[in-house]
């Protein structure tokens, strides 16, 4: 069990890194929405799914060139996220949090069934970008180009996001609103607009994640988002939900551990998904707020 060569290990770690980066792009959306609304947005995984269909239609059906399609997919997905927030969450702003959660579950089912009606349940093949599938040799390690691009894209987007949050007026409004809506309003911050931006950004990142995801797992159907969505949610919780860096670290950790587990215990590979939950349970036992979670002490 402990006999392997270094290139083998690096090879697997490259795979784990790719998966981790994909998780991160989606997990950030969960964590941002949680950060500002204290809501687990169950519809996020279906936004991811819709995004895959948007891409499928732009490329495979309407034969748009990739750059145009990509832009279209990101914009459409971001707008979908904003629309969902406006229609399903905004009317419940003053309602108990449980209503919001139920609304999120409702939107999730709605999107899955809508996709089944619109796109049928027949699995489709996600359009591949040839160059990303190409194998490159890095010394003894052979990886797809994807394994190089995924981390680069993820890190660039992460840097842009952190800049947005920490350095801009919008980001300042987001941070203030995530602490206290009422006080934020009394600082002149338009809270509804700020929440819309949060959904816009989270959904756009999920769209990028979906397109790259499709390069690795090419079959799509209306329930394609469910498992990745759950995994990314787990990753966000592991990192400490509400914390963006936590979501990224949690995602990379989860992706890496999953791949390494399947590699070292190939007999158990069928339990890959269960493994993610086991990691979650273990982490929550020792660190209930996740790795980077804040422990809020609310003084009255």
């Amino acid at each position: 069990m402990f006999t392997f060569t270094l290139p083998e290990l690096l090879q697997q770690m490259a795979n784990g890194l790719t998966v981790g980066c994909l998780y991160a792009l989606v997990a950030i959306g969960y964590t941002m929405v949680y950060g500002i609304l204290r809501l687990i947005n169950f519809a996020h995984c279906d936004i991811f799914m819709m995004s895959m269909y948007f891409c499928f239609y732009s490329i495979s059906v309407f034969s748009l060139p990739w750059p145009v399609a990509l832009l279209l997919v990101v914009v459409a997905t971001a707008l979908l996220g904003v629309l969902i927030e406006k229609a399903a969450y905004r009317p419940l702003r003053e309602a108990p949090r449980i209503s919001l959660l139920i609304s999120a579950i409702g939107v999730s089912y709605l999107l899955e069934n809508l996709a089944t009606v619109l796109f049928t349940g027949v699995p489709r093949s996600f359009p591949a970008v040839g160059s990303l599938q190409k194998i490159v040799n890095l010394g003894d390690v052979r990886v797809q180009q994807l394994a190089i691009y995924a981390p680069v894209i993820m890190l660039l987007l992460l840097a842009a996001l952190l800049y947005l949050i920490n350095k801009t007026k919008t980001g300042m409004a987001m941070r203030a609103a995530s602490k206290d809506f009422e006080t934020a309003r009394l600082m002149g911050i338009n809270v509804n607009k700020t929440i819309s931006v949060t959904f816009l950004v989270g959904s756009a990142l999920a769209a990028v994640g979906a397109v790259i995801w499709g390069q690795k797992y090419s079959q799509i159907q209306p329930y394609v988002g469910v498992m990745p969505g759950l995994k990314c949610f787990i990753a966000a919780v592991i990192g400490g939900i509400g914390n963006i860096k936590g979501a990224v670290v949690g995602s990379l950790m989860l992706g890496m551990l999953e791949i390494l587990m399947v590699w070292r215990f190939s007999a158990l590979s069928g339990f890959k998904d269960a493994f993610a939950f086991i990691i979650l349970i273990i982490i929550l036992i020792f660190k209930p707020t996740g790795l980077f979670g804040e422990t809020f002490v609310d003084k009255v």
């Binding site: 800049y163 947005l164 602490k179 009422e182 009394l186 600082m187 002149g188 911050i189 804040e294």
Partner: protein
């Protein structure tokens, strides 16, 4: 003289409970006006109605955005953030700073309003100058209010009196013409209260403000207020100068309940 704030028959019911009934107050430029009354009299509700946290069940609120000489506009039903942008700021009875952030960051959020540049300008660097300006103003404000020493400390680590002061500083960062203070002296000892009285007076002068405050410390109220409104069970039972209020029988009855050793 034109008032800067006026409420007309403002009423707030929560179900069957009338929290505020027929509130009619007027504030003139550069006044310090106090609202007093026993617990549950509807003072904080009145603040929430004026600042747009609640929408009144009946009545109207008018506010002059430009401060002195500004024209009164109807702000009833406007959102709290829109009203803040017009130049009204407030503090809370229970301090509501942005926890886990430093003193400086709290001030910057208050200044959020004055950053005009959106996302794209901030990337392109147009905003660099504006940001420097914002940071300079924040430091200036901290200096003026005697908070420079604790600039980079977590706001929750400050002593109570300074947290109150910071909350006022943060409200001032939104550049208001009207400042509402909800029990600024709550939980303060006599020494701190004396300091606060001077502080409110200074701030009012320096920032050219009109001040409306809720307060229980009668020494402070009588010392600093130009006029006083007295609320009881949501009704305004008296209004006048401190001297008039001190000799008003209804106030003495409502406030002290005939029991003078309170």
């Amino acid at each position: 003289m034109q008032p800067v704030l006026r409420t007309e028959h403002v009423t707030m019911r929560f179900g069957g409970v009338m929290a505020v009934g027929d509130l009619n107050i007027e504030l003139f430029p550069h006044e310090i006006v106090a609202i007093i009354g026993p617990n549950g009299a509807g003072k904080t509700t009145a603040f929430n109605l004026i600042t747009g946290v609640y929408v009144p069940t009946e009545g109207k609120v008018f506010f002059a955005p430009g401060g002195e000489g500004g024209k009164l506009v109807d702000i009833t039903g406007k959102k709290a953030d829109a009203i803040t942008r017009m130049g009204m700021a407030r503090t809370f009875q229970n301090i509501r700073l942005f926890k886990s952030q430093t003193v400086y960051e709290n001030i910057l959020i208050g200044q959020h309003l004055h950053v005009k540049a959106g996302l794209f300008a901030s990337v392109s660097g147009i905003a660099r100058k504006e940001e420097q300006e914002m940071r300079r103003r924040a430091d200036e404000l901290l200096e003026l209010l005697g908070l420079s020493r604790v600039r980079d400390e977590l706001c929750t680590s400050l002593p109570y009196g300074l947290q109150r002061r910071l909350e006022i500083a943060r409200a001032l960062a939104t550049n208001p013409t009207l400042l509402l203070l909800d029990e600024p002296a709550a939980g303060m000892n006599p020494q701190e209260t004396v300091e606060l009285t001077a502080f409110i007076h200074d701030v009012k002068e320096q920032f050219n403000l009109t001040v409306l405050m809720i307060e229980h410390h009668m020494d402070l109220v009588m010392d600093i207020s130009d006029r006083i409104y007295v609320l009881d069970f949501g009704q305004t039972i008296a209004a006048g100068t401190p001297a008039e209020i001190q000799n008003n029988d209804r106030v003495i009855e409502a406030y002290l309940g005939g029991n003078t050793d309170a």
